[in-house]
């Protein structure tokens, strides 16, 4: 069935009591004067108080200035008269496709006022953005949005979650209520996990060291473009990584750099936190990349990828992590994670792709070419 703005727009216009032309005029990037209404609308939709400062989040992620520049991240609103009825965020990203950089947009944070929920505004806003932007991506979905996204976009497998257990002590203590018995019972299991982890030899050249960094080195600027063969990924420049992880008001992320004789060979971004589910320390590796690029296409064995994640894992073990998780999408990452005894879990986040250009669309729909990490999701684990 044809799902286009031309075909479906008139029916929403009728429901909202607007002309089609007026409806298009209602949809625009939010500016300074709209900010409080956007905050208020989001607040009405949160099922519980967010554990982040939502004002700070919105100001970090989107530009609410009165300048309508298209080259920044904007939160688009549908405003009928004085009332914001819905909105959707668009993050502008540089996509590297087989080494060529192009612009794409990631869609996120869609909201619709409950009074008109179900009338079609959410779908219409997506269709309206597709008229304006040739490449739109959505990473992840929820129960409300999944079916709509599968029909408006092409769905690719996206991210799969991989986990590496380090210690079962917390699980025994909390889930099985073993109290003081947990430690002695966990000891042999934890030892077996450690031996298994250490039994995987990783060739590590001399002069390799992992350093905790306080800023993203400019060296990473060329990584995505220079070292990817047959791959599609968001360009991981120092500017982008700094904004995405270190200016982000929602989470406290940390950065590690892998150095070989003084040269940066890769980086990883991680977060250590106390799990609400298990009340134990867990860690997530949000993003990572190395100078060897994504070598699966040539069948090469990952070298720096293995070293980087192995060293990152040991760093997180020293920080007390009982469980480490990573999300991955491609063969290269699977080789690295499988080589380090991570186990793939059933959960994941699909990738939805819209592209108006047929040739490029065919390329973007090759799910195996995408290098994605949890950093490509917009939820920051919430």
């Amino acid at each position: 069935m044809k799902l286009t703005l031309d075909r479906l727009g008139p029916y929403l216009a009728k429901s909202l009591g607007l002309s089609e032309e007026a409806m298009l005029g209602c949809f625009r990037p939010a500016t300074r004067g709209d900010f409080e209404q956007v905050v208020a609308l989001r607040r009405t939709l949160f099922t519980r108080t967010p554990r982040w400062n939502d004002n700070a989040y919105l100001r970090w992620r989107y530009d609410f200035s009165d300048d309508q520049s298209p080259v920044v991240n904007r939160f688009w609103i549908f405003k009928r008269g004085d009332e914001v009825l819905g909105g959707v965020g668009l993050e502008r990203v540089s996509l590297v496709v087989d080494g060529e950089v192009m612009t794409a947009h990631k869609s996120m944070d869609i909201v619709v006022v409950p009074a008109i929920d179900g009338k079609g505004l959410g779908a219409w806003m997506n269709l309206a953005l597709m008229e304006r932007y040739p490449v739109i991506l959505v990473v992840g979905s929820n129960q409300n949005s999944h079916k709509m996204l599968t029909r408006l976009f092409c769905e690719l497998p996206g991210l799969q979650v991989w986990k590496l257990p380090i210690s079962v002590r917390g699980t025994l203590k909390r889930r099985f209520r073993l109290g003081p018995l947990a430690a002695p019972l966990a000891f042999p299991v934890d030892l077996a996990l450690k031996l298994r982890r250490k039994s995987k030899p990783v060739q590590c050249p001399s002069g390799i060291e992992l350093q905790e960094l306080t800023a993203v080195p400019a060296d990473v600027d060329s990584y995505s473009k220079d070292s990817t063969r047959g791959s599609i990924l968001v360009d991981r420049t120092a500017e982008y990584l700094t904004w995405r992880f270190f200016e982000n008001p929602r989470r406290d992320y940390r950065l590690l750099g892998l150095y070989e004789k003084g040269a940066l060979m890769g980086y990883s971004v991680y977060r250590v936190y106390r799990s609400e589910e298990n009340d134990q320390i867990e860690a997530g590796i949000l993003d990572w990349f190395t100078t060897e690029g994504l070598c699966s296409a040539d069948g090469e064995k990952p070298k720096y990828g293995l070293i980087l994640l192995r060293e990152t894992v040991e760093h997180l073990v020293r920080k007390g992590a009982c469980m480490i998780h990573v999300s991955a999408s491609d063969e290269y990452s699977r080789k690295v994670l499988g080589g380090l005894e991570f186990r793939r879990r059933p959960e994941g986040s699909p990738l939805f792709v819209y592209c108006s250009q047929p040739e490029l669309r065919n390329r973007l729909l090759d799910g195996e070419s995408w290098f994605l990490t949890e950093g490509d999701e917009d939820t920051d684990g919430f």
């Binding site: 479906l8 619709v112 009338k119 079609g120 079916k147």
Partner: protein, 79 residues
Amino acid sequence: MTVNEALRWFAEMFEEPEENIAPDTKREDIEGWDSLGILTLMAELDERLDITLSQEELENLSGIDDLLAVLRRHDALTE
């Protein structure tokens, strides 16, 4: 159209497996009856059967039996 033909049509419209659509299926059990599904439903009824749903009809649709009732009211359903 017959009831069975209508059910197949609704399944196609909401992109649901045919076995998921029966006269007693509730709206909340049809994943595709969402924001996009409602616009598709309005377009299909209008284009195929010249049926324009009123706001009241739209707001009172709670399941497949209500859709069948709409078709009956507009003489579009043969029993």
